[in-house]
Amino acid sequence: MKIIYCDALIIGGGLAGLRASVATQKKGLNTIVLSLVPVKRSHSAAAQGGMQASLGNSKMSNGDNEDVHFSDTVKGSDWGCDQEVARMFVHTAPKAIRELSAWGVPWTRVQGGSREAVINAKRTTIVEDKERHGLIMSRDFGGTKKWRTCYTSDATGHTMLFSVANEALKHKVDIRDRKEAISLIHEDQRCYGAIVRDLITGELEAYIAKGTCIATGGYGRIYKQTTNAVICEGMGAAIALETGVATLGNMEAVQFHPTPIVPSGILLTEGCRGDGGILRDVDGHRFMPDYEPEKKELASRDVVSRRMIEHIRNGKGVPSAYGDHIWLDISILGREHIEKNLRDVQEICKVFNGIDPADEGPKGWVPVLPMQHYSMGGIRTKKTGESQKLHGLFSCGEAACWDLHGFNRLGGNSVAETVVSGMIIGNYFADYCLENDLDIKTQTIEASLKKESNKIDKLLALNGKEDIFAIKNTMQLLMDQKVGIFRDGENLSQAVDELQELLKKTNNITVKSKSKAGNPELEEAYRVPKMLKLALCVAKGAEQRTESRGAHYREDFLKRDDKNWLKRTLTHWANEEDILPTITYEELDIIKMEMPPAFRGYGAKGMIIENELSAQRQEEVDDIKEKMDDEGKDRHEIQDALMQFDLPMNYREKNERVGE
């Protein structure tokens, strides 16, 4: 039996996990990072358009601050997020950008003087302050009041990931790739590490640690049409679920991005629209202003995706061999802009579709269609990032439901969350590892290892008629069709039934090669049942949530129901042999909110079932603001009076800004 001991175990080597590893290593903890793939290949690299942080340097972001970022994030979440977490996040994001700058990210900088930009499909001249020349620049993204998204062309995630991964190497973090955590070791509500399969040798190993942090990203691959990398199968969330102790939060909150390219599903960044690109229909007509007169193409993602499908349903889609789609037109931005700021987008369009999006007119239009993009749900945590139920288990980044995003995440807030939560949760996680000793019996470790090794033997011995690849495909198609952008009770209930059937079928497969190493079908055989459990959490949560909020849209319950549904879905897997998750709920307390529920400013109006506490709290908030304003208090003091929040390190200090 191979047992590896460390102080801090981090599962997942994307931006969140790597940033957390720097935090633990810097606090003197012996840290190991496990990753399915070489860490620089993580899906974080695919974040294109940028990272939100309210630096307020450029002309169009002048006047930006934490308050505006907070308000945009809460509205974007459709009031589903944890507002304290949102405050922690917006307050740390500028620090994260500045830290990354010191670590080498070549952020695009403000060029003093005048430049051309396309705003609302018109060429406009913007004059940048000469004194701000050389500070970090930002671009526009959906659902934001200010241009807040900092970027390096459209390869932001890539440059961030390389800087953080190399910073981890610099601090001598022990990074081990091609290692897959297949179960968590736990006893008496405490997590002690994981059983890990070496993806090269097939060997099982036990990693024992004072604390374990899961940062494995989202579960997008339970859908067929997704922008996510092939490794985004939600395995971190699944092994947490399989403890029967840890809970997952808001699994039904799944984001569909408006502009993946058809048919490959590769993402074209929101920066396309942020920089002034527009959506056109079969007649070449720019239709978004008809639906969303104010924000147009730059309403939040959930709203734009639904409007696109709505327009297609109205018969205005562009027919193709792959069904109807919409056109994305960035040619109006001009070749120079595209070749500088949207390079990867241009490359993707050229390589995969043979289209140069810089070509003027219809020739340069690119076929796009909303597809699965982001998992707002994940391992439910406290504000420190620790599981509410399983001590010593932490989670950060997309894998977690910390709950920064509620029912819809804003563009630019995910790559920001990875590093910000890596900083905040990484430090809380480090403190846990410093304060807690290991007190696990070798017997418990042996039993956990034996159990997983038996499971693999059992899978290889199965002799049934089902095919694991076919089961996976069926699940993915079913999720697209019945648990997609538009949902209703009948389809969701069918999905739940069919997913249970598929889960049963996974016991009736045959793995053709009996080899324990280098056997891709064996890997599918143990992953797909885990994916089906996650899919069941999504479908069951969606079936029970009889309202529409953010990305969760029920055609049979069109309104956001603050009276009955201002709560977070918690899912756990009570017994190993169950084929359905157990669902409970966690209330959101309006009276503690800094920003009580209201209209988002985009999307359909009059679609809210009000909670009477919203108006009551709004009145309180207004009174406090007015009174403190009169007393000459500043925005920080007012904010503190409305809702308090804590941060580790020096992250609670104020952020310096030009012009503030």
Partner: protein, 242 residues
């Protein structure tokens, strides 16, 4: 729509961990679908014909650099390789040389790149200067940021190494990828290393003086990085040291 054709894909299969395994080409024939890439084709083969076939993909969008392999003699990213670009629809795939073979088309680029990153100290060296992240960031000329970004676009896919004559003769050669990283930090004002420091890292035949200027790295680089130009620049810089 174009007429559907048969595609023949021949893969060099070998599992170095299996004593019974010997390198051999295995041929698969499948029907072409519109826009078919090697990502689509290889997954179809695995799902329908050979569940044992090993290969690596992550982003399938040409961004992550996982899927380098040699296609009809040329190292390239498989996810961006369209079957339709091969008129006779015959593709022969072998794993990238110069890297440790894991199985079939899967090679250990991660291990190689980590070692290279440690060797060239592929991070900002600022002599532990403490940065106050609550304060406004240091300014940088926009053009300098752009120039750094240009080189920072490297995804460390390993194609330049697999294309390189020196890398095949000198297993410790840092490759164009490593020299590009050095050039990237050399031009970064945040990095406090001097040319002497860089000379200590790569001033030998496993570094800047090992390159024979055969240019295959630049020819095959999927990100079109100006590798030769940068290597020549670094060589001129470092040859004048000491």
């Amino acid at each position: 729509m174009a007429q559907q054709k048969d595609v023949t894909i021949s893969v060099l299969k070998f599992n170095p961990r299996d004593k019974e395994s010997h390198p051999k080409f295995v041929e698969y024939t499948l029907q072409e679908t519109p826009g078919m890439t090697l990502f689509i084709a290889l997954n179809k083969i695995r799902q329908e014909m050979d569940p044992d076939l090993a290969f690596d993909f992550v982003c399938r969008a040409g961004i992550c650099g996982s899927c380098g392999m040699v296609v009809n003699g040329k190292p390239t990213l498989a996810c961006r390789t369209l079957v339709a670009n091969y008129p006779d629809r015959k593709l022969q795939l072998i794993p990238m040389p110069a890297f440790e073979l894991i199985k079939d088309l899967s090679v250990n680029t991660g291990k190689w790149m980590d070692s290279m990153s440690n060797r060239v100290e592929s991070w900002i060296v600022d002599n532990e200067k403490e940065i106050d992240i609550t304060k406004i960031e240091e300014k940088m000329e926009p053009k300098v940021a752009e120039d750094i970004f240009e080189l920072d676009r490297c995804v460390e896919c390993g194609i330049c190494v697999a294309s390189c004559g020196t890398a095949l003769m000198r297993p410790n050669f840092v490759g164009a990828v490593g020299l590009n990283r050095v050039a990237r930090f050399q031009m970064d004002p945040r990095d406090k290393r001097t040319d002497e420091d860089f000379y200590d890292l790569v001033g030998d035949d496993d570094g800047i003086f090992g390159c024979m200027s055969l240019l295959a790295c630049e020819d095959h680089c999927p990100k079109n990085l100006p590798l030769q130009n940068k290597i020549a620049y670094m060589r001129r810089k470092l040859v004048s040291v000491k």
